[in-house]
Amino acid sequence: MIMPRGQQLLLPANPFFIAFSLLLALVLNMIENVSLLGNAAWRPDFLALVLLFWSIHQPQKISIGWAFVLGLICDVHEVSLLGQHALAYTVLAFFATLIHRRLLWFSVPSQALQVLPLLVASHAISMVLRMSLGTSLVGWPMLFAPFLEAMLWPVMSVVLLAPQRRAPDPDENRPL
């Protein structure tokens, strides 16, 4: 991967950390649902965001197949239509692989702006699928979800890249 000038060189991504972050995002989604917000439509979907992040940063490791599997798990937890999130995440990961070479050349806020349409599309797919089965609209709060997720993109970029930004040769002055 070629990176823009002046950017810090990164350590290789640890596959265990990727798996852990995806699992943590799933649990965060569950906590949001079970303990905090119930079934509010504007809940940001952390799993979609982390999935998008890794399929842009590590497309060799996380791509469409994983998106499908995680979507199925999400469907079972949310008791939505089986395959609804799977389709939404599959499309999300596909667009992520399309833009991953270009996106990392931009600054992080600009990246957030560019992933917003992808997140909107992923939510729109869920909504269109449910409306085609005769469900009524849940109203405008649903529009908030992709915007909240896009706003979380810079936070994700800091948190999820932190292990790769550690020193390659830790010594006493730089323990991490």
Binding site: M1, L9, L10, L11, P12, A13, L23, L26, V27, N29, M30, I31, N33, V34, S35, L36, G38, N39, A40, A41, R43, Q60, S63, I64, G65, A67, F68, G71, L72, I73, V76, H77, E78, V79, S80, L81, L82, G83, Q84, A86, L87, T90, V91, F94, T97, L98, L129, R130, L133, T135, S136, V138, G139, M142, Q164, P168, D169
Partner: protein, 305 residues
């Protein structure tokens, strides 16, 4: 800096695997196929059960913040509010004990009368106490997850009620948990009977998503008033008869429609309910319908259906 520590592995030139477009087509087709299996043929329950079992530890983990916060809230509750609540509970218990003593007498009387009239005795439906773990995350439906599953003896289509009335019906049973659709869900319907007039009808969940019920297909000139209490009619063979369901709160009669639009407020706490009772479906005790082959044979032999 040694080179191995850098994230600079060049992408493989030839061994790229399937192209993203092919993967997209494959997995999108698979998910659409799954959706068809789910909606049209209801084939996906084993897959759902298996995945839900896998998810159980994660769900337990997700419940912990709530459990801790509820524990803290209970710990820091002040004396006055707990005393007030105890007073209210005592009052409720007093009225209920009066009712209960009357009910015993009425039951006895009812049994004797039914004996006299040679009617079939009503069976008491067995029940199971359960707890609502969480509201299902899907914002398009109104469902809750209960903490009892098929290993605890929950049966599909069991009615679910709280202390005030019916709140829903079990629509999916997994090994450890089960899923109940609330009566305010748009796709749920429940046969009801107006306690004042005895008129039967079917109440559906309100279609706009408000936590209300709608009594559909009642003629515009039907005898129905606000504050009429609707209870289960028992014709469905699922709900036991006579359990309160909802109260009529608003009747709109328009000139251009044959039917009145009747909105009802559920009596059970359809939102935010915690402790529920899962009843066995009544119909399980009834004799089974004869097999289609038997009916065909009967018709062939000249017996009237």
């Amino acid at each position: 800096m040694p080179l191995g520590t850098l994230d600079r592995t060049p992408p493989p030139f030839f061994k790229q695997g399937a192209t993203p477009l092919h993967k997209l087509i494959f997995f999108a087709t698979l998910s659409i196929l799954l959706m068809f299996c789910d909606v049209r043929w209801q084939l996906t329950l084993p897959l759902r059960s298996a995945l839900s079992l896998v998810l159980t530890p994660a769900q337990w983990l997700a419940r912990q913040p709530q459990a801790v916060s509820m524990g803290l809230a209970a710990f820091f509750e002040d004396r006055q509010s707990s005393q007030t609540r105890e007073e209210v509970t005592k009052q409720a218990l007093l009225t209920q004990s009066l009712h209960a003593s009357q009910v015993d007498e009425l039951l006895l009387e009812n049994r004797q009368l039914r004996d006299l009239l040679e009617l079939k005795q009503r069976v008491n439906t067995p029940s199971l106490a359960a707890q609502v773990i969480y509201d299902a995350a899907d914002p398009f439906t109104r469902r809750v997850i209960l903490d009892k599953g098929s290993i605890n003896g929950i049966v599909l289509s069991s009615p679910v009620m709280d202390e005030q009335g019916i709140v829903g019906q079990v629509t999916r049973v997994y090994p450890l948990v089960s899923e109940a659709t609330l009566i305010i869900d748009k796709d749920n319907s429940i046969p009801v009977l107006n306690n004042r007039t005895g008129a039967r009808g079917v109440a559906f969940g309100e279609s706009s998503g408000a936590p209300l019920l709608e009594l559909r297909y009642m003629a515009a000139n039907a005898d129905i008033q606000e504050n009429d209490v609707l209870s289960t009619s028992g014709v469905d063979g699922v709900y036991p008869p006579g359990v309160p369901v909802a109260k009529v709160i608003k009747i709109e009669r328009t000139a251009d429609s044959m039917f009145a639009r009747i909105l009802c407020q559920p009596l059970g706490r359809a939102q935010g309910v915690r402790q529920v009772l899962v009843l066995n479906p009544v119909g399980l005790d009834e004799p089974k319908r004869p097999e289609p082959e038997v009916i065909k044979a009967l018709i062939k032999s000249g017996a009237k259906p």
